[in-house]
Symmetry: C2
Subunit: 152 residues, 2 copies
DNA sequence: CCGAGATCGATAGTCATTCTCATTTTTGGA
DNA sequence: TCCAAAAATGAGAATGACTATCGATCTCGG
């Protein structure tokens, strides 16, 4: 099916994903590989229409289904904003911890990282909160909402 | 319509909301007041079904429509999670700046605040990012995703 | 090479949210 | 106070992102 991949998945990443899927009794099929390649090539959180446009060989129904499978396996993360469509990107442990700039005008989402010190301080403050509330923290999410340079 | 309000809106808050709505050429009608009262009484972000259950006199279609109006006027904030329903709460400038604990199990959302120092540090780090990216920041959003004490 | 089981993909649902429109309410002028 | 124009309401229909279905296709172990 995949003749010309959008991006090449390095061996290590490929193995990590194969392993994650195996733990959910799922295979890293061509369709799922094409999805990951499209997300990798996109370089930012993508909506399903964007993914389908990036690789027209993908079927919509399979894209929806496989993105659910990939999310359950921890390969991708689903990002939901006020935009009509949800977005997907590679999970943080396959890339690196980061946050999102969300454009309230066009809906576009891009990544950014906090410098290490700020991230550490934030983490510490969050741990205190969690301890005080009896909440078991799985992850923290930090978004900047505003207007991107394109829309300005 | 509103015989027995769920919560009483203090004069000052009432005037603020009336003013915000007026700027959008909208009125602070009974139905809209009942919505605000329900959110005030709820004390945490509420889904529309929760709001309708809290005040059974409200019509679903009007609740949806008026919550859109109230959001456009800056009176309430719409919070979207992975849950089926969106949630609404009073806008921060009518209450105070805070963040959210999102339970990945039951979908419940509750508020928490960072201590002033941590919030200041975060703010400073975020301003640097914004300056570096040409992104015009309107707000920042910080969520803790995990499992609440009820679900644990 | 074969067959059981997983995956695919076209299509038909589902359901939160939005739209429509006739009815009711509100407002400002006479 | 009365009236008409404008706004708001609410019941129901429509929309559209997403999910479920199911026969066809692919995959892997034997």
């Amino acid at each position: 099916m995949s003749i010309e991949p959008l991006a090449t998945i390095e061996t290590e990443l490929d193995e990590q994903i194969t392993d994650l899927l195996r733990r959910s009794d799922q295979r890293f099929t061509k369709g799922r590989r094409a999805l990951v390649e499209a997300l990798l090539a996109g370089g930012q959180p993508m909506t399903i229409p964007q993914v389908l446009e990036a690789d027209t060989r993908l079927a919509q129904s399979s894209a929806y289904r496989n993105l659910v499978v990939l999310e359950a396996a921890g390969v991708v993360t689903r990002i939901v904003t006020n935009d009509d469509f949800a977005r997907y990107e590679l999970a943080e442990h396959l890339t690196h911890h980061h946050h999102h700039l969300i454009c309230s005008s066009c809906g576009d989402v891009t990544d950014f990282a906090l410098d290490d010190q700020a991230e550490d301080e934030l983490d510490e403050a969050l741990h205190k909160i969690a301890a005080a509330t009896g909440f078991t923290v799985e992850a923290h999410r930090l978004d900047l909402v505003g207007v991107c340079s394109d829309c300005d």
